[in-house]
Symmetry: C2
């Protein structure tokens, strides 16, 4: 993936020292930190003492609707006007949205400058931080414009999770569950046992270990297939329906977190797993029970089906307009490149609707 290192991820509980050391051994001509209004308030103070006085802060706005080419252009103009050069460094301090936007901006600025990602949400620690996918949205389509390029370094520290609202923790937890479901039953069972009803009760050490395991699973898959030609598609389990739910609810003003939408997507795609493979019915039912406990079902109507299907047909995994999903053969084992037709999708949505009727 370009000349960068895909796997330069440090798990730490002393991010200030780790960052200070990294900046000391490097020789950047200037240093920029990208924040949004939340991370400026809650996270920048945490790392402030690692930063040299000449650091330049660029502020962007939080919110999925700001993850677009206009925000990237704003960052490019800021970097230009503040005289960044090819040897400057951009530190992305924020969640997945900010790190995708900042990663894309750094990757295209003067054809690519180094960037360091410090993910501050659970979702970005276990998902967005690893894999080198940088992107912004276009025309409401998620990550339509982007590149594959890895952060020069990723620093993961649970300290940033302390101030997160529990819906943000749940959002990241859904991706961790997914990692277990597609690749590692033990990881899934551990997560299932812990649940996540109150993450403040889980010790930093236990939480840090679970994060590290989850990241390791993703890393292993991405390493095997960095450009998503094959097995990396496994990571899309739950995401074909999940992205459609996310776009659908967010565009109608009923905001939903990414992980919550993916959890609902995993319900539908587990149903299709049972329909298309030997994925056992009792596993399907137990997954549904577990997911619905943590991720309340959101109401859809029959007349929404066309809209949802329309979102799915724009999925980047598709080829020649056929909808292509990843499903489970069993817990811990995935099957990619499964073509589903409109009938399958309607059945899955019917199944989903029955759950709350």
């Amino acid at each position: 993936m370009q000349e960068n290192n895909l796997y330069n991820i440090t798990h730490t509980t002393t991010v200030v020292e780790t960052l200070k050391e990294l900046l000391t051994v490097s020789n950047y001509s200037s240093l920029f930190v990208l924040v949004d209004e939340n991370t400026k308030q809650h996270c920048l103070p945490i790392i402030q003492t690692s930063l040299p006085p000449a650091v330049i802060i660029i502020k962007t706005k939080s919110g999925e609707s700001n993850k677009n080419i206009e925000s990237a252009t704003y960052i490019w103009k800021q970097l230009t006007e503040r005289e960044a050069d090819r040897h400057s460094l951009l530190i992305n301090l924020g969640g997945g949205l900010l790190s995708d936007l900042g990663g894309f901006s750094a990757s295209c600025f003067m054809r690519g400058i180094d960037f360091v990602t410090i993910p501050t949400t659970l979702l970005s620690q276990v998902d967005a931080s690893v894999g080198g996918k940088q992107a912004v949205n276009l025309l409401g389509l998620k990550n339509q414009i982007g590149v594959f390029r890895s952060a020069h370094h990723v620093l993961i520290d649970p300290v940033f999770l302390k101030t997160l609202p529990s819906e943000q923790i749940l959002s990241g937890f859904a991706e961790m569950l997914k990692h277990g479901l597609i690749q590692d039953e033990t990881h899934f069972r551990q997560l299932q046992e812990i649940g996540i009803s109150d993450h403040q009760l889980i010790s930093d050490e236990v939480f840090g270990n679970l994060i590290q395991q989850s990241v390791a699973i993703k890393k292993q898959i991405v390493r095997a297939d960095p450009y998503e030609k094959g097995i990396r598609k496994a990571l899309n389990f739950g995401h074909t329906f999940g992205h459609a739910f996310e776009s659908f609810f967010n565009s109608s003003g009923k905001n939903i977190t990414h992980g919550h939408a993916v959890a609902l997507g995993m319900i539908c795609e587990s149903f299709l797993s049972n329909k298309k493979t030997n994925f056992p019915l009792h596993d399907l039912l137990s997954l549904v029970a577990f997911f619905t406990t943590h991720y309340p079902l959101r109401k859809i109507h029959r007349q929404d089906y066309d809209t949802l299907i329309e979102w799915m047909t724009h999925d980047k995994k598709n080829k020649s307009k056929q909808i292509n999903i990843s499903i489970l053969e069993k817990i811990g084992k995935v099957k990619i490149n499964q073509i589903v037709n409109n009938g399958d999708i309607i059945e899955a949505l019917d199944f989903y609707m029955q759950l709350y009727q």
Copy 2:
């Protein structure tokens, strides 16, 4: 350079057959051709019979001022609305501006789709087509936003040069001269002998061979250093002053071609070569005589120096605001990473001004 092949360049005199064959053996889900108003009129008819009926034409505008993020966004929206997917192909039919814009757009669409470049100007055949630099301008700065990514295939056919005005031929010729000057004295002497007073008089075969030689020089340099960490900077000979001249004249409405500006830049940087190394005075004088015959000097004034220096300080090769240029030790041999200060630049501009006084 991602998973693409840097060196997939075909020199042909039967572009219709070559393209048809390429499309037959590939398996793209849909096919787009990017043109501007000129190539739509003059070049699209030439390749039309190689294209399947379902091809979709995207039209962009010619002109450096349209090589920007807004034009890229227009292309991304067109691709999205016309249902391009990851397995679609974009063919860029045009000069360097169009192929840079199209290459950047394809490289970021869904994190990168394949693109084929068919350069239709001499400049793009010998320069932009090889090396995998894709970019657009920002805030008047050339190629400020971009990526390194190579075309899936480049098809070079002199047939497209037939209808070009001679100033366009001269523009490409300047880059060919540069290739000779930095790397291959024989190539330079051949070009010098042929001159280019009337390119219609040069046979297709001779011209095709010279193009092939020039491309081979660039390929060799890029292969050695794809990301411009070292020797690839040699290709920037003439370009620090050249880009400044280009931005300066174009922004004041006195349009100048890229090659013409680079030729004037090579005059200044040859002067600095003589000042900073043992580059012989008689070579400097003979280069000046040759360049000024083909590339008329454009008037600048002392009060323009600050503006020109300001453009140079934004050059991407710089580090920590120091201006870094490539100079000649002798004809066919280059020296990179030469720091020049304001005094050097002023001396070079004074030398340039004396030439027409």
